[in-house]
């Protein structure tokens, strides 16, 4: 409950630059990652203490994180504005299916990319309009799209896996630039743009304001409704990008893609310091959150842990991770 934090935040280190608490949080997450690496080094030194294998392993982790990472960037915007987007996974599926129909594939990679982005952003606009003008609460509106978009994706694909035969697209899952996989660069690129948009533009300012106090934002003349639509469109656009990533990785479009992505993205954002109630959040934190989760999976597979132990361990790690963070933050509060 927010209740428990009230007493604390009421006097938290106000005098530093208002950015410093998030920074501490993120340092906390870095600490968590280091702990995970240490575990890796202890259990599998041959990987984690061998520069080459560590490098290629981490590149894989980053590649596997790229799609959810991109989606989390969009999610972060929505959540900072006090909203939530449950439809991301389904939109990813819809976009991936739509851009891999034989018809679309026949037009080549350019059209496929366009279709994926257009479908994502378009569906996002639907979310936004339902929320801003239909006055649906975000949870319900996006829940509706979460269900409907999957259905539509199944309808289009006939529930069949649509193999992508356009190599130009599949190739981005293989190619590297200066030794860095293209997928990773895409994620970092989206992250960087997101960071700029959030922290260096009025759009970002207004996003924070709407999440912090909608009424105040309204009385300050911020066009809340239009902004809301744009926010969900942005999230949808990220789903489109992620759809291309996943399609390339899986060499196929499918109505099963992006399963449970909504939960992962929201969890990553929150671990990264974004408030479900809006007004707080950072892109860096969200991406670190994604990395933590992906690194955990990677560790599990490397140690080939049984499913049940994976789950139990994951629960424990999540709790541990947040406690580590809190420790760093509370340090900040103390002095």
């Amino acid at each position: 409950m927010t209740a428990t934090t009230v007493g604390v935040t009421a006097h938290s280190g106000w005098w530093r630059s208002d950015r410093s608490e998030p920074v501490r949080r993120n340092l906390g997450l870095v600490a968590v990652l280091l702990i995970l690496y240490t575990i890796g080094a202890i259990t599998h030194p041959e990987i984690f203490l061998d520069a080459d294998r560590l490098w290629s392993n981490e590149l894989t982790v980053l590649k596997q994180a790229s799609s959810i990472g991109v989606i989390t960037v969009g999610m972060t915007f929505v959540m900072i504005a006090g909203g939530i987007d449950l439809s991301v996974g389904a939109l990813l599926a819809l976009a991936s299916v739509w851009c891999t129909t034989l018809a679309t594939q026949s037009y080549g990679v350019g059209v496929m990319i366009f279709v994926a982005l257009a479908v994502g952003a378009g569906a996002g606009v639907v979310n936004g309009v339902l929320i801003a003008y239909g006055r649906l609460v975000p949870f319900i509106a996006t829940l509706a799209l979460m269900v409907a978009a999957r259905g539509l994706a199944q309808k289009i694909s006939g529930k069949l896996t649509q193999i992508n035969t356009v190599d130009a697209l599949n190739q981005i899952a293989i190619d590297k630039v200066l030794g860095i996989p293209v997928l990773v660069l895409i994620m970092l690129g989206v992250g960087a743009l997101g960071w700029l948009l959030l922290n260096r533009t009025t759009f970002g300012r207004h996003t924070f304001a709407i999440g912090g106090n909608p009424e105040a934002a309204r009385l300050a003349g911020i066009p809340i409704r239009r902004h809301t639509v744009m926010l969900y469109a942005l999230s949808g656009l990220c789903c489109g990008i992620a759809a291309l990533i996943v399609t390339a990785q899986a060499t196929a479009g499918s109505s099963d893609h992006g399963n449970l992505y909504e939960l992962q993205a929201i969890a990553a954002a929150i671990i990264g310091g974004t408030a479900l109630s809006g007004g707080r959040g950072t892109i860096v934190g969200s991406l670190l959150g994604v990395l933590v989760f992906t690194q955990i999976t990677n560790l599990f597979i490397i140690n080939n842990l049984q499913l049940e132990w994976q789950l139990i361990a994951q629960g424990a790690i999540i709790v541990g991770a947040v406690l580590v963070q809190q420790f760093r933050v509370s340090q900040l509060r103390r002095n």
Binding site: T60, L102, G158, L160, A250, T297, I301, N304
Partner: protein
């Protein structure tokens, strides 16, 4: 391997209807059919085959009941079905154990139940059980890999399972493990995906990092196999060979073309749905299998898990289902 409008012919349909004396139309049989929602290539093939087979008979009327989202839902749906008193029920349960009581209820209500694939925990709850051989799949895969790696006790053998919380996954893994043991081999890396392409790609990408050199991989499910092969391609790995599972058209094409490490796949044929409908019809008409002497259809039919390789792939391709 999709996109073109569905033609049942390509979803693993045998094309063979009933033969001999049994071919002659008899008393009309209404068959109540219930299988989990078709959200996965194999299940989809099951449903399509059932419909297609029923369509072949002038004397069969098929009423399909949605299985709902989980076992309790399917139980409720079946109670409604039982109330409608169909002649026979063909049931692919969400979970065999959880629907046993319902199966028994139907039998007690005088409706013979054909238990399809996922086995009831009590044989008395069904008239006939026709199922694939999950343990046998593991065995077949085990033999294929075992024969090729015989005597190499240090061989790195990876297993990519399906949804790990399902009993059927457990059976497949046991069969695989037991068989490899007879060759003095063991599974060195085991990961579990979700029967989906994306999860297949994800776990495989990580698996290939965990094991820098692999000799053989068995992947339980050709649906997720698409992702598995993608991950292998992206990692640029070729040093191993791979065996698939279930027998999708896509897998067979790769085996035929030999353009991937996928050398073989062990079947878990969705054609069992067609057979189940045929059996149900015979039961409804009180007939036996014409080629057998008994007057009743057998109590238990377990399908072979065949091994499809480059050599025999051509004769299986018509049976391959689209994933």
């Amino acid at each position: 391997t999709s996109n073109e409008p569905e033609k049942p012919a390509n979803t693993g349909q045998t094309g063979a209807a009933a033969t001999g004396a049994n071919a002659a139309p008899g008393a009309t049989v209404t068959i109540g059919f219930s299988a989990p929602a078709a959200d996965h290539g194999w299940i989809r093939a099951i449903t399509d085959n059932a419909k297609a087979q029923a369509a072949k008979y002038s004397d069969v009327k098929l009423t399909q009941v949605d299985a709902g989202k989980d076992a309790p839902a399917q139980i409720a749906a079946l109670e409604a079905l039982i109330a409608q008193k169909p002649t026979v029920i063909v049931l692919l349960p969400q979970d065999g154990a959880q629907l046993t009581a319902t199966g028994r209820k139907a039998m007690e209500a005088g409706i013979p139940v054909v238990n399809l694939d996922r086995e009831f925990s009590d044989a008395a709850a069904s008239f006939t059980l026709i199922k694939g051989d999950n343990y046998g799949m593991g065995v077949s895969a085990g033999h294929y890999i075992g024969k090729k790696l015989r005597g190499r006790s240090d061989a790195v053998i990876a297993e990519i399972a399906g949804i790990d919380s399902l009993p059927l996954t457990q059976d497949r893994s046991r069969g695989f493990k037991d068989t490899l043991a007879t060759y003095g081999l063991r599974v060195t890396n085991r990961v579990a995906a979700q029967f989906t392409v994306q999860s297949g790609q994800d776990v495989t990408a990580n698996l290939l990092q965990a094991a820098p050199k692999i000799d053989a991989i068995w992947n339980h499910d050709d649906d997720q196999g698409v992702g598995v092969l993608a991950a292998i391609k992206q990692a640029g790995r070729k040093e191993f060979f791979m065996v698939g599972g279930a027998g999708s058209l896509d897998a067979m094409n790769h085996i035929k073309a030999g353009d991937t490490p996928l050398e073989a796949t062990v079947t878990y044929p969705p054609t069992m749905a067609s057979s189940a409908i045929s059996l149900a019809r015979l039961i409804g008409q009180g007939k036996g299998l014409s080629d057998l002497v008994e007057l009743q259809v057998p109590k238990l039919i377990v399908l072979q898990s065949e091994t499809i390789t480059k050599e025999n792939v051509d004769k299986y391709i018509p049976l391959g289902f689209k994933s």
